[in-house]
């Protein structure tokens, strides 16, 4: 086994400030809600105090967005909108290191992920969508498709900057203005994005960012002058929002939870598959809606695969997220850690066999050692419920038909993985997966050109690609 010397990224790069304010109508202003303290989940220290929006602040932000929509943004030629959005993409790249370190501090994810995935993909989303702004006539929705108006967007804590980019970039490209609420536990990078947007000279009110808890989100999506609601988060909250919007003319898209099957056939290249399984469930501490949280292994190779998997997972380094060697960072919050613990305990109680990596964990902070459950049956909670943590449930199958039936035996339908060397089987399986994204012989790949979104209770609407534009157009 290799020994690693710590290689921590400097936290100074984050330019952390003691106070952050909300961004409304082109200005950073104090919110009149109760300020929140955002915590580094790896150390439990308070990082900064962040002002939050009250109900009246929500109204002010929506009014600013409406004004900006009516007077400026909806009248601006797409070719001009495009240049603003390109500017944002470029500035994210320029300030990429700062954003990566800040994201890791606020979220707890390993620096190598925020540096190599979150920030570059956020920049690429703006860059990709910028180019659409003056080409909407060619997007397949008829000539001159119109924007919807003011978009109210609520995003989760697992990819704070990246989810902001997924929401804001297509909204702006299609000609909408935005009020975005970042997650309560991870507001910082969205507010630096606001700073970038201000430096890019976007007209005031085109993008407004209002931190706060769920009540702010509820006020935003329920605001009568919001035309479009986009939500990424849990299926439970998604259902509440869909119900809240019943009877209104608001257009809604939802990107919700998942319980993806990652299916390994007996002819799969096992070492590659193991890497994919590890990436599928331990990437971002498993705080991924499309995580490959149900491993379906063909029975004849189950023992061999499990042995290789345990050996590989044992080498994962859990700890300081700022350390460039770290593979698995901190769980985002005490509440989430408690939820993960509760569900893993249910797995043991229901008779699944638990294996947990013996890796050392830091003394402080919210950490959970990578865990693999075998002998899992479909009825167990750990096979049905989204754990949203570094916990894998392993089930077996004998035939492709059984793999399909088990994979689809869930109300969710966000993603699936298929591992086999046989091309025809990949296509046969992919066709039968009731899931919006199917990764074959890979997992957890994201790109702004590739539509992403769920079937069934994983939500509706897509983000990315030509298809994703529909969510922000009146078509």
């Amino acid at each position: 086994m290799w020994e690693y010397a710590p290689a921590p990224e400097s936290r100074d790069i984050a330019n952390l400030r003691p106070n952050y304010r909300m961004f409304v109508d082109g200005q950073f202003v104090e919110g009149s809600g109760e300020p929140l303290k955002t915590v580094n989940p790896a150390t439990e220290e308070v990082l900064a105090e962040v002002s939050t929006a009250s109900q009246s602040d929500v109204d002010t932000a929506v009014k600013a967005a409406r004004r900006a929509y009516d007077r400026v943004w909806s009248k601006m030629p797409g070719s001009e909108r495009a240049k603003y959005i390109y500017r944002i993409a470029r500035q994210i790249q320029e300030r990429g290191r700062e954003l990566a370190v800040l994201e890791t501090l606020d979220n707890g994810k390993p620096i190598k992920e925020s540096r190599d995935v979150d920030v570059p993909t956020a920049a690429s989303h703006f860059f990709y969508h910028a180019g659409w702004a003056d080409k909407l006539d060619h997007a397949g929705y008829g000539p001159d498709p119109k924007p919807l108006g003011v978009a109210g967007q609520v995003i989760p804590w697992n990819f704070p900057l990246l989810m902001a980019a997924w929401k804001i970039a297509p909204a702006l490209a299609c000609g909408n203005t935005v009020v975005l609420k970042p997650a309560e536990t991870t507001p910082l990078t969205a507010l630096v994005l606001a700073d970038i947007i201000a430096q890019c000279d976007l007209p005031p009110g085109v993008v407004n960012i209002i931190p706060g808890a769920g009540d702010v989100g509820a006020a935003l999506v329920g605001h009568e002058d919001v035309n479009k609601v986009a939500f990424t988060g849990s299926t439970d909250v998604g259902k509440i929002i869909q119900g809240q919007l019943a009877g209104t003319d608001k257009k809604l898209t939802l990107e919700l939870g998942g319980k993806a099957a990652n299916i390994v056939f007996d002819d799969a290249p096992l070492d590659q598959a193991v890497e994919g399984i590890v990436n599928g469930i331990f990437f971002n501490q498993g705080h991924v809606c499309c995580a490959g949280s149900r491993l379906l292994v063909q029975e004849s190779i189950a023992d061999e695969l499990l042995e290789k998997l345990h050996a590989r997972v044992s080498t994962l380094r859990v700890g300081d997220p700022l350390d460039k060697n770290t593979d698995v960072g901190a769980i985002n919050s005490r509440e989430q850690l408690a939820k993960i613990k509760e569900l893993t305990e249910s797995g043991e109680a229901e008779g699944a066999q638990r294996w947990t990596s013996s890796c050392p964990l830091p003394d402080k902070g919210f950490f959970f050692a990578p865990t693999v459950f075998s002998n899992v049956s479909q009825a167990m909670r750990i096979a049905r419920e989204e754990i949203f943590g570094p916990v894998l449930s392993v089930l077996t199958f004998r035939t492709p038909e059984e793999a399909v039936a088990k994979a689809n035996n869930t109300p969710y339908g966000l993603s699936a993985g298929i591992w086999t060397e046989k091309g025809s089987r990949i296509l046969w399986m992919a066709q039968r997966m009731r899931a919006g994204v199917v990764w074959s012989n890979t997992f957890n790949r994201f790109d702004p050109t590739a539509p992403f979104g769920g079937y069934q209770e994983s939500g509706f609407g897509r983000e990315g690609g030509r298809t994703g534009l529909e969510a922000y157009l009146d078509v």
């Binding site: 019943a246 009877g247 990949i426 919006g436 790109d447 050109t449 590739a450 979104g453 939500g459 690609g465």
Partner: protein, 287 residues
């Protein structure tokens, strides 16, 4: 004129390719626009709706798995059989909607043409709405539109055939299966359409047609966990919001088009898109 006594038709439900009466044993009188008795129609119940959903679910793998060419031919065959029943439909539409026979014939003609239009879409949807995605990495990534599953359709209350055809055809063209609640007061053309579907190679269960009280049956479909999407076109205004709230319980896709939709114009793709999922598939490239 002969004084022969005509064979009166019994109007029944259409579920799973069969023509049952309502399990509730209920029927209700259907009148023409002036109030004259036309026939008794089955008054569908919650149980009928659930049977229809089960039949639609059972038919989904076969219909969605059929080739687009095959679905296109089956749907075109429906248009052929519709054409053969043109006069019968015109008579029923005239009686149901209170329009002159000539106007009714024109509505029937448009309905048949509409069906042909959608039949031709089956094998073009993937090319027009799908994509090959130029991702920034050594992967081949493509996206294909796929049917969302079982769609509950509340058919328009006014347009008894053209409206009906305009809401059913886009559901099944892409491979979904349908449970249709007909116009409550003008159900006869829908029942005749079910006879057309039964005799034109459409597999049983792909389209299920229930007559009865929309407001009574619709809530059961809106909350049914095995229904993937809901078309509110024919929903009474008073229950539209409630139906949407119920649909939220299982994150259904809801098409909120209103009854005021003009069915006489050639549609765009929005009704097809409403019942499609996009599936993105990735695979590494390498040697």
């Amino acid at each position: 004129m002969s004084d022969r006594v005509t064979v009166a038709k019994t109007y029944k439900l259409y579920i799973g390719g069969k023509f049952p009466r309502s399990e509730s044993g209920r029927s209700y009188p259907v009148t023409d626009s002036k109030g004259a008795f036309l026939a008794n129609a089955a008054q569908g119940s919650r149980k009928d709706a659930r049977d229809a959903v089960a039949a639609a679910r059972k038919a989904f793998p076969g219909w969605s798995g059929a080739t687009a060419y095959n679905r296109g031919q089956v749907l075109y065959r429906v248009a052929e059989v519709l054409e053969g029943r043109r006069e019968q439909f015109a008579t029923e539409v005239a009686a149901s909607e209170g329009v002159a026979l000539k106007k009714a014939q024109s509505l029937v003609d448009t309905a048949i043409d509409r069906w042909v239009w959608y039949a031709g879409w089956t094998d073009k949807i993937a090319a027009v709405l799908g994509s090959s995605n130029p991702v920034a990495g050594p992967y081949f990534s493509f996206s294909t539109p796929e049917p969302t599953g079982v769609v509950a359709v509340l058919a328009p209350q006014q347009s008894s055939l053209l409206g009906l055809v305009s809401v059913i055809a886009p559901v099944i063209a892409s491979g979904n299966t349908a449970v249709v609640i007909t116009s409550q007061d003008r159900p006869l053309p829908a029942i005749t359409l079910s006879e057309v579907l039964a005799t034109s190679d459409v597999p049983g269960g792909v389209v299920n047609i229930i007559t009865g009280r929309t407001a009574e049956i619709a809530p059961w479909l809106a909350s049914h966990a095995d229904v993937n999407a809901l078309d509110l076109t024919g929903a009474p205004e008073s229950i539209r919001a409630d139906l949407q709230r119920s649909a939220a319980g299982t994150v259904k896709r809801v098409l909120r088009n209103k009854a005021s939709e003009d069915f006489s114009v050639t549609p765009d793709l929005s009704r097809i898109r409403a019942y499609l999922e996009t599936k993105t598939v990735w695979h590494p490239m390498g040697v």
